[in-house]
Amino acid sequence: MAILIDARTRLLVQGLTGREGTFHARQAADYGTTVVGGVTPGKGGSTHDGFPVFNTVESAVRATGADASVLFVPPSVAADAVMEAADAGVALIVCITEGIPTLDMMRALAFLDGRTSRLIGPNCPGLISPDRAKAGIIPGHICREGRVGIVSKSGTLTYEAIHQLTRLGLGQTTCLGIGGDPLIGTSFIDALELFEADDDTEAVVLIGEIGGTAEEDAAAFIRASVRKPVVGFIAGQTAPPGRRMGHAGAIISGGQGTAAEKMAALSAAGVTVVNSPSEIGAAVAARLKPEDGVGVAAGTQSGV
C-alpha cells in the first residue's frame, strides 16, 4: 500500500498544454501513472501529446472519472484552479505552482473547508508512490518501492533524502512534499496520520524548515498519536532572523520558528533528529534495525 496515490489513481493535469504541464504529464505517464487528460480553458476538444483536453475540470471529471488533479497553472490563476477542482469533486488536488498570492490561497482554503477534497501544496514538488504513480515533479528514477514514508516542506531536499534512502536499499511507500508557503492544504499532521495508518509504512522521515509552528504542532501530534519511528531534519539552523530564505514561509520572525525550537520539540516527542542533512538515510536505517523492537513492532501492530 501507499498513501494518497497508487496504481488506481486517475490523474488529470490542469495546465496540461503549458511547458511544465506538457513535460510532467509525459513524465507521469511514462512512470506508469494513469493520466486521463488535461484541462486548459479554451482548448477543450483537442488532444495534446495524446491526452484529451477539456475546458473545465467538471467536464474532464465527467468524461474520464479522474479522482486526482495536478496543477501546473500560473500563480495568478492557480487558487481559482484549485477551487474549480474542489468544486468538481476531485478527491486529491496537487498544486505545484509557486508564487500564489497569500490572500488568494486563504480564500481557496476557506472554499475547501467543508468540501471533501484534499489539497497538497501549493509551492510543492507533489508526491510519488514509487513504482505505482506520481503527481508532480519528483524524479521517479531516484525512488524505489519500500517501507519508508517521507513528508517534507522542501523540494530538492526531499530528493536528497530519497536518494540517501534508496542508496541504502531503503525504499519508500510514498514521498510527499507539502510545500513551503505560509498557507498550505495538507499539513505534517495530516501526512503523519496517513503514514501511521498505512500498513506498509514502517518509518517516517519528516523534513521541516524554519518559520511558522508546523513542526512544533507535528511534534505534539507524534507524541500523542504516532508509534512508528520518525526521523527528522530541520533546514535553516544557520538562517538569520528576519530574512526570508526562499520559501515565503521560511522566515524566523518574532523569535518564533527557529530551527533550535523545532528540533527540541521533535526530540522531546521521541523523533530522531539529525543535525546534518547527510545523516537522514543512516538515521532511518538505525531506527529500522531489527533490534529496535519498539519501532518496528509498533509499525506492524498499527495495521492490525
Partner: protein
C-alpha cells in the same frame, strides 16, 4: 516588499485611516518648508529607513520651529542610523518625514497579519502601545487581544468594537478606533498586504484616533496586480548583490561567512548552509538558483557569488530534478572560463544526467574538486577556505 513609514501612511490614508499631517523631505530646506506648511507649532522629524527602533537610535526628534526642523533634518539626512533592527552596519538615511506634533493621551497597538495555523487574518490589539510588541507578547501575553477574521465575511463590526473595548477605549475614541480597524482591514485586502502594524495607535487629548506610526509589508507574490505600488520599492534599502540576483530570478541573500554556496531549491540551500556550519565553516550567502535554471542563470549566479570579496571558496550543491546536471556543468564551465575564478570550487551534483555532468566537468580541465555526498563536499570546501 517593505515600504517606508510615510509610504505606508499614504497608503492607509487612501483607505480612510487617519494619520498625522506631514510630508517626506530630502533636504534641510525642504524640511523648513514642510514645517512652515504645517503651521505654527511643534513638528516631529522621523528618519525613514526600513527598520524599527529608530527612536532609540536617534532617528526621531522634535522641533519647535522651521529652523530647528531644518537643522535636525540636515543632521539626519546622510547619517548612518544604527538601531536594534539594522545590525551594526546601520542604514544611511536619505529622507525624513516631517509630521505635526500631537497632544497624545494614550498609546495603543494594532497589528494585522495572516495566522498560518488558523489560515485566517488575525487582528491583534493591545493597550501596551509604543513598546516592543514582541517583548509584550513574551512577557505579558494577556495584554494582547486577538480576533480571527472570517475570510469570506471580513471583519465584523462587533469584532472591531470588542477589540476597542478590550484595549480600554470607551465613547467617541472607541467608535473611532473600531472604524479605523475596519479601514485598516479594507486596506490590507486591497493592497495585498502581508502585515500591517500600527504602533502606536494614539488617542489625542481631543479624542481623535490616529496611526502615529505605520508599518506595511506587501506580498511580493501579488505584485503582478499592483503595478501602481511598484515604485514604492526603495532599492537603496536593499543589498546591491541581492538586487542584481533578483534581475536574474535568483534568490540570493548575503551573509557574513567565507564559503559561497550555489544550490537548487530553498530547502536544500538552507541545508547546505547548515552542513557548512557543521563542518566548521561559515556560509557567505544563501543562493537558490531555482528548479529550472538555465546555463546563463548559473553563470550569473557564479558572477554574483564571486562579487563578494569575502568568499574564499565556493560549494556548488545541485540535486538535479528539472535542472539537469549537464546544464549545470555547462553553466559552471562557461562561468569559470569567462570570469577567471581564482578561488577553489567544490562541486557536488546528483540526479538527472549526473554522469554526463561529471564527464563535462572532467573533460573541461577545470580545477575543481568533486564530492559524492553533501557531508564530504562540506568537509572539502571548509578545508579549502581555511587554507586559502
Amino acid at each position: 516588499m517593505k515600504i517606508h513609514e510615510y509610504q505606508a501612511k499614504a497608503l492607509l490614508t487612501r483607505y480612510g485611516v487617519t494619520t498625522p499631517r506631514g510630508a517626506p523631505v530630502f533636504s534641510a530646506a525642504e524640511a523648513a518648508e514642510a514645517t512652515e506648511r504645517l503651521g505654527a507649532g511643534r513638528v516631529v522629524v522621523k528618519a525613514q529607513i526600513h527598520a524599527g527602533g529608530r527612536g532609540k537610535g536617534g532617528g526621531v526628534k522634535v522641533a519647535d520651529d522651521p529652523a530647528t526642523a531644518a537643522r535636525i533634518a540636515g543632521e539626519m539626512i546622510g547619517m548612518t542610523l544604527v538601531t536594534v533592527q539594522t545590525g551594526p552596519a546601520g542604514r544611511v538615511v536619505s529622507r525624513v518625514l516631517i509630521e505635526e506634533g500631537l497632544d497624545i493621551a494614550t498609546e495603543l497597538y494594532l497589528g494585522l497579519l495572516i495566522d498560518r495555523a488558523e489560515q485566517k487574518p488575525l487582528f491583534m490589539a493591545s493597550a501596551a502601545g509604543g513598546m516592543d510588541i514582541e517583548q509584550v507578547a513574551a512577557d505579558t501575553p494577556e495584554l494582547i487581544h486577538k480576533v480571527h477574521i472570517d475570510p469570506g465575511l471580513g471583519l465584523a463590526a462587533f469584532q472591531a468594537r470588542g477589540l476597542a473595548e478590550a484595549i480600554g477605549l470607551t465613547g467617541v475614541p472607541a467608535r473611532k478606533a473600531a472604524a479605523l480597524m475596519e479601514r485598516v482591514y479594507a486596506a490590507f485586502l486591497a493592497v495585498d498586504a502581508s502585515m500591517i502594524e500600527i504602533n502606536p495607535l494614539v488617542v489625542t487629548g481631543a479624542g481623535d484616533v490616529l496611526a502615529l506610526d505605520a508599518k506595511v509589508t506587501l506580498d511580493d507574490n501579488a505584485s503582478f496586480r499592483h503595478a501602481d505600488l511598484a515604485d514604492l520599492r526603495d532599492l537603496a534599502e536593499e543589498e546591491p548583490l541581492e538586487i542584481e540576483a533578483s534581475k536574474h530570478e535568483l534568490n540570493y541573500i548575503r551573509l557574513d561567512g567565507t564559503i559561497g554556496c550555489m544550490v537548487n531549491g530553498a530547502g536544500l540551500a538552507m541545508a547546505t548552509m547548515d552542513i557548512i556550519k557543521l563542518a566548521g565553516g561559515e556560509p557567505a550567502n544563501f543562493l537558490d538558483v531555482g528548479g529550472g535554471a538555465s546555463a546563463e542563470q548559473i553563470k550569473s549566479a557564479f558572477q554574483i557569488l564571486l562579487s563578494d570579496s569575502k568568499v574564499k571558496a565556493v560549494l556548488i550543491n545541485i540535486f538535479g530534478g528539472i535542472l539537469r546536471c549537464d546544464i549545470l556543468a555547462e553553466g559552471v564551465i562557461a562561468a569559470v572560463t569567462q570570469l577567471g575564478v581564482d578561488v577553489p570550487v567544490v562541486i557536488r551534483m546528483e540526479g538527472t544526467n549526473v554522469d554526463e555532468g561529471k564527464r563535462m566537468i572532467k573533460e573541461s580541465g577545470l580545477k575543481c574538486s568533486t564530492a559524492d555526498s553533501m557531508g564530504e563536499a562540506a568537509d572539502v570546501v571548509v578545508g579549502l577556505a581555511a587554507g586559502a
